[in-house]
Symmetry: C3
């Protein structure tokens, strides 16, 4: 994946300034700071990597406008957001976008009652589309995908190989679902009757609004009734569990291995870090951030960051997590106090 470009043209490509290095020097590829070699351009997206940058073998690097280090033998391109700017570098050197191939693969199994324009939709090998499914233009359904009866997919969605969408799921436009995920499966609902767990029917649906992306092997259960609802622009990582009747607002971010229990409501612009667990029937307000591994047992309505189990505001939660470290020293001080006090008491009893 290589199309060489000069430092000068690279600076123009990313909308930055070449502040050091030969304008005619050639860049032939790209890589991370530590994996880059001669000819590669890299970027400093995180000061953590300053040390690594000093040792990089890269030929050029994108840095922030206020980058103050002095580095030798490397072309410096200053740009507002090096991480984002690097996307255009990736587009330049990266693999060509695969063009869209409309049509239905002969091995796909598509119901006659499914409605879509076969010249504007792409359905891959061994995909299965059940009755009354509606698919918008520009949507790509890859190999082995299952779409249950009565589901509606908007335009320009991408369903990656071997994901499963159960019946009556409703999707907006530009929804992306990655491989292995299961959307619209039954919620986990039982009533305990005479020593048996009797299944409570789950007849609701999953609704996924525009611009939602869902990672791989993530599970989103259908509502018991009504809907499990993922709001516009929300991004969900891999191996996330979203239980029945959960409602997630808009533009929230849910990182890998998070579990959200039934009927919990998550607001807008919420960030939930990895392995967080949230109990059922709670509310998480707008702009709340939950740090990794947090366990939430009560509703959180105040915006801000929270951590720990049970969850507490960031500073308090951090103290809680580190407090036990103080205990050995506290025990020492208590012992000393007890000794001294005993001596004082002895003196007291002693006749003057």
């Amino acid at each position: 994946m290589s199309t060489s470009i000069t430092h000068q043209r690279l600076a123009e490509l990313v909308g930055g300034q070449l502040s050091q290095g030969d304008p005619e020097g050639l860049v032939t590829g790209l890589n991370s700071i530590s994996e880059a070699g001669p000819g590669d351009v890299t970027f400093l997206g995180n000061d953590r990597y300053l040390g690594a940058l000093r040792d990089t073998r890269a030929t050029a690097v994108l840095v922030a406008p206020d980058f103050a280090e002095s580095l030798e033998n490397i072309a410096l391109i200053r740009v507002d957001n090096p991480t984002l700017a690097f996307s255009s570098v990736i587009r330049h050197f990266g693999p060509p976008k695969r063009e869209f191939h409309p049509g239905v693969h002969p091995t796909a199994v598509v119901s006659n009652s499914a409605r879509f324009d076969p010249e504007r939709v792409s359905i891959g090998p061994c995909a299965v589309i059940e009755d009354d499914v509606v698919i918008g233009d520009g949507t790509i359904i890859h190999a082995g995908v299952f779409i249950g009866h009565g589901s509606r997919l908007g335009s320009d969605c991408i369903l990656h190989a071997n994901c499963t969408v159960k019946d009556r799921t409703q999707m907006g436009d530009r929804v992306v679902i990655h491989s292995g995920s299961a959307i619209g499966t039954d919620g986990f609902g039982y009533e305990f009757i005479k020593g048996h767990h009797q299944k409570i029917e789950q007849v609701g649906i999953v609704q996924i609004d525009d611009d939602v992306e869902i990672g791989s092997c993530t599970t989103i259960d259908r509502a018991r009734f009504g809907r499990t609802w993922i709001g516009k622009g929300t991004k969900i990582d891999n191996l996330v569990q979203i239980a029945h009747n959960v409602v997630i607002g808009q533009h929230s971010v849910i990182v890998s291995q998070v579990g959200i229990s039934g009927s919990t409501k998550i607001g807008n612009y919420v960030t939930i870090a990895g392995q967080v667990g949230i109990a059922g029937h709670l509310e998480i307000g707008n702009q709340v951030t939950l740090l990794a591994k947090t366990g939430v047992t009560k509703s959180i309505l105040e915006p801000g960051a929270y951590t720990g189990f049970p969850a507490r505001p960031l500073m308090e939660g951090r103290r809680m997590l580190s407090a036990p470290a103080k205990i050995p020293e506290m025990l020492e001080r208590i012992k000393t106090l007890e000794k001294k006090l005993a001596e004082l008491e002895k003196k007291e009893q002693a006749p003057v």
Copy 2:
């Protein structure tokens, strides 16, 4: 999904009493308290929702017999178990159950040595059934399901789209497995020899007894030898890990993202909440409940609830989780004690 019904007939349908509202008033649909609109019936399954109930736009609500709130402009139907009773409402308004379509889809790949009655079994598109598989009557195998050689499925099982059942798995009747799950994959067993992890063959099986339901993207590994065994009536949620040679008793409930390590034995009527982890070679007795995120490192034989990491009986475990909050105040008190004591000591040394 709407077939209107009067308040009176609805009360009869759920076996309850209409204690407020016009018997001839019409209900045209159903929804949750917060999502319900005019014409909808809802239910109060959890007092958490009393507040929401006061603001609901629902036309009717199922409540417990002892419901004491006074609500206006809503029909009240009193019934013993509103949550459960609502199931018959769902059956009334919900989508029609899809009828059973027996037969083998032409794109399914079925071994000649597989044994089942093609007029009593349903096998979907692109499903793969290997040699010597036995399938009971009334069982439905959906699209893209894989059943490995020598597996036996009982009657009236449902295997949802794109789940995988490896060779020699044994299933009872009415077993349900949801999409994306992998049953009977190799256990995670290696011996470390000369700097390499050498695979220990996993030649055992998975046995799943009657009435077990397994969620989506859940993994149950085959035994090293003998069997990994899920007892009758046990229900398992999504994204659960059950390692090789684990034995789970009857009518237990295992919530999402739980991990159970190799050879651990779980009893009957056990409840394991979300994100719990249990170490290997342990025993969890009957009627034990493990709260969310609990980490179990020792066997637990006493019935009752446990929480924390390491796991402790509920009250003790809760104290453990909250105890660190007391530390700042304890430090203050220790400091004060030290100051006062120092003063006392000074006085002591002072000449009388």
Copy 3:
């Protein structure tokens, strides 16, 4: 699964010594200590099971050379590593290894540009092989597997039913991937711009070196650019999340439900126990062991075992986890001190 064998021949089979029992006694099967019955051979791999061994109904048992217990009515076979030695017993009694069936199933969908020797590769029903895929001899691709364009698989790999390998993934020899896993899906990368999460293209790859085994429903994201890299001989369990640009060294072991965040670097001979979470952009050095549920927020370079959240060296971490138990007693002692001190102070103020 039974082919009877005498105690003497069994001892020879496992390379051990028959130190008790009739050399001509017959063994007809195998099982775990607790599940074994008459005719079965079992093994003592863990002293935890000594109690169970006294009650076992097995006919013979493999024990360590220094086994000191006296047991009656059971044949004792002493061997260096009973756990490992039992593998040859399993091979003797276990199901026959299925022979390799080369060829491409007629329902598989294979691109004309894919390169492999159809007489040396096995491709199952409904598998999909895209353009320019290269497959080494002896590799088995089971039913429903998807291999994206430009991927390279080495020799003697096994891809189990319904796993997904996205485009341009690079695999060495003898790589095993279990069912439901998704390899090479997009990394979870967005930039937050004007209230929206804008996707950062993920154009890198996943590289999996020789002898790596990956469990079921595990997700490994492709790199943003460059590669997400799993080193030679590393073994990964089920439901593990490995984010974009993670690098894992050689011969490491990653247990179920572990999450490793973006760009983190794991060394060689590292062991990561179940449900551990590791933040992004960190480094975990060689021979580090992370105990179950550990939360890692800073790099760990010193070899050794760590536990807790935040992670600490084993002994310190254990103290941290248990320290809160001391708090109630500490509070008592502080109260007593305060009482006694108050009394002393009263006496002090009292006129002499």
